[in-house]
Symmetry: C2
Subunit: 306 residues, 2 copies
Amino acid sequence: MTTKVFGHKSPDTDSTGSPIAWAWYMTEVLGQPARAALLGEPNTEAAFVLKHWALEKPEIISGVAEGEKVVIVDTNNPAELPEGINKADITAIIDHHKLVGGLETKGPIDITIRPLACTATIMYDLMGDAVAKAPRGIKGAMLSCILSDTLEFRSPTTTAHDKEVCAALAADLGVDMGALATAMFEAKSDVSAFSDAELLRMDSKEYTVDGKELRVSVLETTAPKLVLDRKASLMASMVDVAKEDGADQVLLFVVDILNEEATLLVPNDFVKTVAEASFGCTVTGDSVVLPGIMSRKKQIIPALKV
Amino acid sequence: MTTKVFGHKSPDTDSTGSPIAWAWYMTEVLGQPARAALLGEPNTEAAFVLKHWALEKPEIISGVAEGEKVVIVDTNNPAELPEGINKADITAIIDHHKLVGGLETKGPIDITIRPLACTATIMYDLMGDAVAKAPRGIKGAMLSCILSDTLEFRSPTTTAHDKEVCAALAADLGVDMGALATAMFEAKSDVSAFSDAELLRMDSKEYTVDGKELRVSVLETTAPKLVLDRKASLMASMVDVAKEDGADQVLLFVVDILNEEATLLVPNDFVKTVAEASFGCTVTGDSVVLPGIMSRKKQIIPALKV
């Protein structure tokens, strides 16, 4: 039986590239037939990465069958996985997020979670010497995942080990990391094709903070102006998105990758209060710039106060 | 701040020895001060192992403070850990049981779960070359953990890798594995000091099977007669233990390590039905012998039908 390997819904580069890398490793090195899958359309950066490394786009699946063999990567959160995931036969989990609880397995399986910036870095370690055997596209996918998740080492989630592995892959491939990262971030910054609601949901996670349901959305971009020019309609759309998704409020952080700062939209007094309480800033208009804020995981979520 | 390293409640050899080994590794190799702890009195085998390798008995703790740094080994089940465990600062989990869900961490941490027989085998791999630096007592504790959890390689949970690591440790220490295992199993078989209720709770886990709460107790022994001679009073005690612990029924499997079989006590028609449905046996008296049954995890739990 072929094992399906997938990451989270709304796949970014790590949730697109890491499943491809691990499916290669399982099939070609471990001798366990496996195939990457996606839980939705990859984002524009991930689509660029697939094309750049001449990788086939994995099949997009909407669910898993009872008893189907699956490997979960880049998440351990049932809310980011197909319904009924616990009825599948989960054979391994490789992730770099906090343990949220909720996934259950039928027997003891391989679970590797590490506080690193990127799933691909963990896979590089798990593969050991076998990495040398990986085709160019697999190494390229892993390189791209690390550049993406670390925002080319600008994100505070970056560890020395992520850098080390990224540099080793780039040297092996003879690739200019800076040029690749620039092209990837440009692809991610092209948001013209997306509606406001799609932008708000593109890289978004729900959190309960002091009893309030917050949908915390992040848009990482090298061209923040493209997003901020749509500020008024994005703020209007937040009301509908929050309602449809059962959230109290959408928070949109537009992360300027090159200037290493985030702009938070402030559509109402509730968000103004949250911004000032969480980040110690003073809000005067309908947005506020937060210098140095790059990471939802490390900087935004731990700071949020309602 | 010193990190506390502990395993599950009712500590057996793995939940006593593995914390000691990992606390050594954290303190001496990683430079992170750590101390082993126990969530109760170690069983007679674990107490023998401590004495045999001249290891100090870790402090017995009954709870953890909010924000206290802890490493959890040999379980990922909140029911087997102190109340409020999710309020502690869990910095790592090393385990070989199925993921049950319920533990939550504040940020991404190191989690390593492997389908191996013993936590100490996983630690041996994680320690890498540093194992060579371990003092005799630490290597001895790890060796004893593997012999205990594999029942000297008789348990079907045993993998080739557990055997390999165990043999490497024994060779390094110049220890006769068979003689050590025999002494350990004899220590475990000395149950004279325990009341019936204590015996029923000594190595016991609760499971919900088809809506029934079952407390599944296992006694691994080289002297099953010592236990079976107490059959009548053990069966009488089951009623009180089930009531006090909110279970519908206690199932006691007396595992004969040397003859590789289990005897299940059959105090009533409910257990008779469970035994016949689960193991395809025919029950004629107040106990039934189940040839080859050694492992709760691999053989008993997956088979249980109510």
